[in-house]
């Protein structure tokens, strides 16, 4: 059993040409980067801007509208970024869950037998896909700040857990809080100026969540619809020929195959939702981009702050890509 011999070198070979081209390309790109870095350094000295990530330990000097844990202007910049990151994760995670539910329902609705349901779902998709997300966010925010009643006269809904209040001050609902004696449920009550106690979600958060969810759901609906339609009709026919009920056929045959087609573009939509949450800066919700924007204005460290934002989003995207590739490899239908 022989093995292939080692390749010998020749200047006229394709390999040599290839190396020369690559060397030139790397050199050009390297020169470009050097040119940009050089200019940046000179500009920063001229304008007296300092560089370095040490500013992260300095006092932030600004307050943040809402955060999951305590923050005030005495805290350092890196804590501010952390608050922003947590805020982004909060709205993105909830948004992903809600948009999956709504989008799947509408996607299935587009294939319904009922004409009205089909048309309504179709109209939903067409309308919300063709209007920019920023505009939708601004509209939702305006609705929340104009239509809702003032915080001293909030709308009240009595649920079996307790009262829920909705007003310009946000959504207040019964929530568990930690006290000295353990966990207990805190119920919101209508105070003189605002609703007190209970868990609270600000109108900014609600507007962002609603806007992102409804916009992305239109795209999710299309992904789900395409996935269901991608399973050849012969599969359902074969399933019923084997005597499987509609429910079984859906669960054992249709859904697993449809999911393989649905999952990749679906994760893409999740990523889009996460990236779109950066538009929070336009409605005043303190997500990580919003905080970075304030930080740039306070500290002048534009390059560093933008680099932080990009790093955070890149890590999210890469992590999702890796998970997706792993899932794809696992779920792939074995072929010859």
């Amino acid at each position: 059993m022989k093995s292939p011999p080692k390749k010998r070198w020749s200047w006229r070979s394709r390999t040599a040409r290839g190396l020369i081209y690559q060397g030139l390309a790397v050199l050009l790109i390297g020169l470009l980067f050097w040119f940009l870095a050089h200019n940046t350094a000179r500009n920063m000295t001229v304008r007296g801007i300092q560089s370095g990530f040490d500013f992260l330990a300095q006092t932030a000097g600004f307050d943040i509208g809402e955060s999951l844990f305590a923050f005030d202007s005495e805290q350092p910049y890196w804590r501010a970024f952390l608050v922003g990151l947590v805020n982004t994760i909060r709205v993105a995670a909830l948004g992903i869950i809600l948009t999956t539910v709504i989008g799947t329902l509408i996607g299935i609705g587009r294939l319904a037998r009922n004409l009205l349901v089909r048309s309504l779902c179709g109209a939903y998709v067409e309308f919300f896909r063709n209007v920019p997300i920023l505009l939708q966010l601004l509209m939702w925010y305006l609705l929340f700040t104009e239509i809702l009643p003032a915080a001293d006269a909030a709308w009240r809904l009595n649920t079996w857990l307790g009262p829920v209040f909705l007003s310009k001050g946000g959504l207040n609902f019964p929530a568990p809080v930690a006290t000295e004696t353990g966990w207990e449920i805190s119920l919101p009550i209508q105070g003189e100026f605002a609703v007190e106690h209970g868990g609270a979600l600000t109108p900014e958060f609600l507007a962002l969540l609603l806007g992102l969810t409804i916009y992305t759901a239109a795209f999710v609906a299309e992904v789900v619809r395409a996935g269901i339609q991608s399973v050849p009709r012969g599969q359902t026919e074969a399933a019923s020929a084997l005597g499987l009920s509609r429910a079984h056929s859906m669960r054992l045959i249709l859904l697993p195959q449809a999911l393989r087609v649905i999952i990749p573009p679906m994760t893409n939509q999740y990523l889009n939702l996460t990236k779109n949450s950066s538009l929070a800066v336009a409605i005043g919700y303190p997500d990580v981009v919003s905080i970075a924007n304030t930080a740039i204005n306070q500290s002048g460290r534009a390059v560093e702050c933008i680099a932080i934002i990009m790093l955070i989003y890149l890590s999210t995207s890469l992590l999702t890509s890796v998970l997706m590739n792993w899932y794809n490899a696992k779920a792939a239908i074995r072929e010859r």
Binding site: G18, Y21, Q22, G23, A25, V26, I29, L36, N39, T40, R42, N43, M44, V46, A112, R113, N114, L115, L116, V117, L120, E126, F127, R129, N130, V131, P132, I133, L134, L135, Q136, L138, M139, L142, L143, E146, K275, N276, S278, L279, V281, A282, V289, A292, N293, I296, A302, V303, I306, I309, M310, Y313, L314, T316, S317, L318, S321
Partner: protein
């Protein structure tokens, strides 16, 4: 199937369908009259602001009648507004033509250069007796269309190069192109716009300052190029290897093969994908509001924020703009579907 029978099957086919029809019908009967009442019957169309504030007034469409010039054209001087109007129409015409395969000749490139030059001359002026209008007064719809359209000729060559680079056998070139695409696709557009706004001035040699419009355009083009590259790469992958082998046996070089054989076939298939990309960029131009360029979305804030009389009626303004975007984007997506059908017709000749 006759009309009545079709309706019956689709609305009342079985008990579940009938139930759904009933529920939707009830919802409609409850909400629709209220909506129509507010939007149409009680609405004020051409009144002043006070009439809109009266009790019992519905939607105040008068705000559109009053402010439509600023919303649509930004702060462009009133007497000269015919100029952006013509410029926009020319640009739209060019875009429509560029999607048709019949127009893909040398003349198309000439047309692009001609229309773009005319656009800038009309908008900026300062020649041929036209008065000068600085770029910071450009706004509204022409700005939206300019940003979206201009991103195409700037992004397309880059996207083509990157797509070819990703398919190359040379590992360094392939890696560089892949890194670029993954980097750009992993970050939100707003961060690229921030980069354009805050960092591009730092990249320039000291003393050289570049107009914010150009910087934003560069940011949008870079962003768009990464997505376009993926669409083009998909098209390139769909060309069977046998085509390149046949070209090799006919002694065509790599560049000749790409130019004469691979790209003409690949580009025809990716036109629908590129159009979707364009629609997305068209919507994304709304983000430049955040870096203080007053295109369509920003122009509304411009029109109403400083005017306390009309400010309560911002929602009607938003609806107006939403309808404009919807009209453009919906029309473009229909057009894209039509082009795709034409391309497939050609294949099955």
């Amino acid at each position: 199937m006759g009309g009545m029978r079709w309706l019956r099957v689709n609305l009342f086919g079985d008990w579940k369908t009938s139930l759904a029809t009933l529920m939707v019908g009830l919802l409609f009967m409850y909400w629709l009259p209220q909506l129509l009442d507010w939007a149409l019957f009680r609405a004020r169309w051409l009144t002043n602001a006070d009439a809109c504030r009266l009790d019992g007034a519905g939607a105040c469409w008068s705000v559109v009648a009053e402010k439509y010039r600023i919303i649509l054209l930004g702060r462009y001087p009133q007497e000269e507004q015919w100029r952006p109007l013509i410029a926009t129409c020319l640009m739209v015409g060019l875009l429509v033509a560029s999607c048709l395969r019949a127009c893909w000749r040398r003349g198309l490139i000439v047309a692009w250069v001609a229309v773009l030059t005319t656009f800038f001359i009309l908008m900026y002026g300062d020649v041929a007796g036209l008065s000068k209008v600085e770029t910071d007064r450009w706004g509204g719809l022409p700005l939206t269309i300019l940003l979206a359209s201009l991103s195409i000729p700037t992004a397309f060559p880059l996207a083509l190069a990157i797509a070819l680079g990703r398919r190359s056998n040379l590992p360094a070139i392939r890696s560089l192109c892949t890194i670029f695409v993954e980097l750009v696709r992993g970050v939100p557009l707003i961060s690229v716009l921030f980069m354009a706004s805050f960092m591009f001035p730092l990249f320039m040699p000291p003393g050289l300052s570049i107009d914010v419009l150009i910087r934003v355009l560069a940011g949008i083009s870079l962003f768009s190029a990464a997505y376009m590259a993926e669409v083009i790469r998909g098209g390139l992958q769909s060309i069977p290897r046998g085509q390149e082998e046949a070209a090799a046996t006919l002694s065509l070089s790599y560049w000749q093969t790409q130019r004469l054989i691979v790209l003409p076939q690949a580009l025809a298939t990716v036109v629908p994908g590129l159009m979707n990309n364009f629609i997305a960029i068209f919507k994304d131009t709304s983000l430049v509001t955040i870096v203080s360029l007053y295109e369509l979305t920003g122009a509304l804030s411009l029109a109403l924020n400083s005017d306390a009389d009309w400010r309560p009626f911002k929602i009607e303004g938003y609806i107006f703009i939403a309808l404009i975007y919807f009209t453009f984007c919906y029309a473009m997506s229909r057009y894209s579907l039509w082009v795709e059908r034409e391309v497939n017709k050609g294949k099955a000749r």
